[in-house]
């Protein structure tokens, strides 16, 4: 019973803390950082559903994010669609895209799905850059995207508190849905396929169907938060499709842990803050994060800690000896 209680209490506590943050935050910068954390947490946890739970590497996940963002932005800017509808449109577009890429290729081996989604990602990038009819803004990007608003209240970069709560709401929605999925029959299918693939199939689980469901669900929320991102920042560019962002996203999954539920979320918060604080270092930023990711890939955190302890042991003994010798010599 204690274990079950802990499972509910801790997350609930975290939600309460998150909800109270705006009252404690001193600067708009902190709030902005947290909004970005929430955005990337949604992207990471949804990606985790595909990579960690279903065992498929969807290279095009950030492409889905971009589809959500650009669909919403383009609809609002060039066609005057209300941003609220734009959000839904972005989410739906992304989900449809997920369906389209999943249908033909999820039956194949994972590597083919990875390659296909890689070209999909590149296709999205190329499409954005080609800038048909000036809609997508090319390398310059889109600026002055209209904001989400209800009456006088805006939800954008300038009204950070309201934006924060909206982001929090979307984050909670996505997380709750993912939680329900993972703990439903779908989740059983994912775990069974991961534990023992042939055995799972022999008991009637269709890997294709469940992988498709995972892709579409995660695509929807990724597109939704992508649309929010566009409306929040008010500007959009092809940087979200860069390899750097992809690798940071990967790092969130790796460091968070494949197949864990809260791991990618926590890692998203940590890595977003880290990426932000390292942004002054230019190329070093990616080198540090990529190295961390590779280290985490090669060794689990426990192993890393153990290795670190073993390696530094002789040094630590030396320091200790030196320290205690000094103390002895200083003693009267």
């Amino acid at each position: 019973m204690k274990m079950k209680r802990r499972k509910i209490v801790l997350p609930l506590l975290a939600v309460v803390v998150l909800a109270l943050v705006p009252t404690m935050a001193s600067s708009g910068y902190v709030l902005h950082l947290l909004v970005m954390c929430l955005i990337f947490a949604v992207v990471a946890s949804n990606w985790g559903l595909q990579v960690g739970y279903s065992g498929i590497y969807n290279f095009g996940h950030y492409g889905l994010f971009a589809i959500g963002a650009y669909t919403a932005a383009v609809l609002s800017m060039s066609f005057g669609v209300s941003p609220w509808i734009g959000m839904v449109a972005g989410a739906t577009a992304a989900a449809l895209a997920g369906l389209v890429i999943g249908l033909p290729t999820l039956r194949l081996k994972v590597i083919y799905f990875a390659l296909f989604t890689y070209s999909f990602q590149m296709l999205v990038y190329t499409f954005v850059m080609i800038n048909i009819g000036g809609l997508t803004g090319g390398s310059e990007g889109l600026h002055r995207i209209p904001s989400l608003q209800i009456g006088a209240m805006r939800f954008n970069h300038y009204s950070k508190v309201s934006a924060y709560y909206l982001a929090l709401a979307i984050f909670l929605l996505s997380t709750v849905v993912l939680y329900r999925v993972v703990h439903s029959r779908l989740g059983v299918a994912f775990k069974a396929l991961r534990d023992s693939y042939d055995y799972a199939i022999s008991r009637g689980i269709s890997p294709y169907r469940y992988k498709l469901v995972a892709v579409v669900i995660s695509a929807f929320f990724t597109g939704l938060i992508g649309a929010f991102y566009a409306y929040y920042i008010g500007a959009l560019g092809p940087t979200i499709l860069s390899w750097g962002i992809l690798i940071i996203g990967n790092a969130m999954l790796v460091i968070g842990g494949f197949g864990t539920f809260y791991g990618p979320i926590v890692a998203a918060f940590v890595l977003t803050v880290m990426a932000e604080s390292l942004s002054g270092l230019g190329a070093y930023r990616y080198i540090i994060i990529a190295s961390m990711m590779i280290a985490a890939l090669l060794m689990s955190p426990q192993e890393l800690w153990r290795r670190a302890c073993v390696v530094t042991a002789p040094l630590r003994t030396k320091w200790w000896e030196h320290f205690s010798n000094r103390k002895r010599s200083e003693a009267p």
Binding site: V51, G55, Y57, P104, T105, L108, K109, V110, I111, Y112, A114, L115, F116, Y118, S119, F120, M122, L123, T126, F127, I130, W243, G244, L246, I247, N250, A251, L253, V254, F258, G282, A283, Y284, Y286, I287, A290, S291, M293, I294, L297, L298
Partner: protein, 288 residues
């Protein structure tokens, strides 16, 4: 269109195909022997270009020597990467391999950026001049690339079919456990295969550095094409890769001529997605 122009298209297509052949063969070798898809292949191509640039300009050596030094460096780098990172990634699983090699790609790209800066560079062409053909001309360098490509093909064919190490690589590619059972040092064979793959990539980079502009992210375009070629030829089939390289080379030549270079990447991506949907095993590959 006159005969000369047709020859021009064919020869430039073959030259491009030759370059692509060198570029993709390493990737196929890694996939067939180590069963690992190396997403850092593109970054290594870029690395090869920049290493050659370094030896050429900063150290001022002759072009051929620069190339040789670069190849040696690549062999060493390949061995180091395989021993330290790749070996462990292979033991863990497909997801780890994909993500790990992506990480290596980003690392290499950013180290190159750090050391050499992001401004466009160009490797000098060792042989100037061109041959007039039809409505245009084909440069001597393109012919050199064509020649080198065919030479490397011949060397690789000999290596894989007639030497012990080459045969060992083919054996490991077909059945790792059986190879263990007959006493082949699989770990060492993997190391050699990867080192050769890196060297080939570096070489491709050196060629590309003269033909195209050099940026730290030049590897991305190359990687995409290498993917397409490997998939089209059939993942893991060297024969298929060679054939596919020339097919793609010719397709790209023709597309560039008709639609312009601007549209070529789009055509390639759509083509790759089509291949993956219609016939993912490619020309000679395994069942998907």
């Amino acid at each position: 269109m006159d005969f000369g122009s047709i020859v021009l298209i064919v020869v430039s297509g073959l030259a491009l195909g030759s370059l692509y052949c060198i570029m993709s063969m390493g990737l196929t070798l890694t996939f067939s022997t180590l069963k690992a898809f190396n997403f850092s292949h593109g970054a290594i191509i870029a690395l090869g270009a920049y290493l050659t640039y370094f030896f050429l300009t900063t150290m001022g050596v002759h072009y051929s020597l620069a190339i040789m030094l670069m190849v040696v460096c690549c062999l060493v780098i390949g061995i180091v990467i395989e021993r330290t990172i790749l070996k462990r990634l292979l033991a863990k699983g497909l997801m780890e391999i994909i993500i790990g090699t992506l990480g290596i790609a980003l690392l290499i790209e950013n180290i190159v950026l750090l050391v050499f800066g992001g401004r466009l560079k160009r490797l000098p062409v060792p042989i100037e001049g061109a041959v007039a053909l039809g409505s245009g001309s084909i440069s001597y360098y393109d012919l050199v690339i064509l020649g080198c490509g065919l030479l490397i093909l011949a060397v690789m064919a000999y290596f894989l079919k007639r030497t012990r190490v080459g045969m060992a690589m083919r054996a490991v590619a077909q059945d790792k456990e059986a190879s263990h059972a007959v006493g082949i040092p699989v770990a060492r064979v993997n190391m050699y295969a990867f080192a050769i793959s890196v060297a080939l990539a570096g070489l491709a980079g050196a060629f590309m550095g003269s033909v195209y502009f050099m940026t730290p992210s030049m590897g991305n375009d190359a990687l995409t094409r290498a993917f397409l070629i490997c998939v089209l030829g059939g993942l893991g089939s060297i024969k298929g890769t060679v054939l596919a390289a020339f097919v793609v080379g010719i397709i790209e030549s023709v597309t560039a001529l008709i639609l312009g270079i601007y549209w070529t990447p789009l055509v390639l991506f759509v083509f790759m997605m089509a291949v993956l949907i219609i016939r993912p095993s490619g020309l000679f590959g395994e069942e998907a």
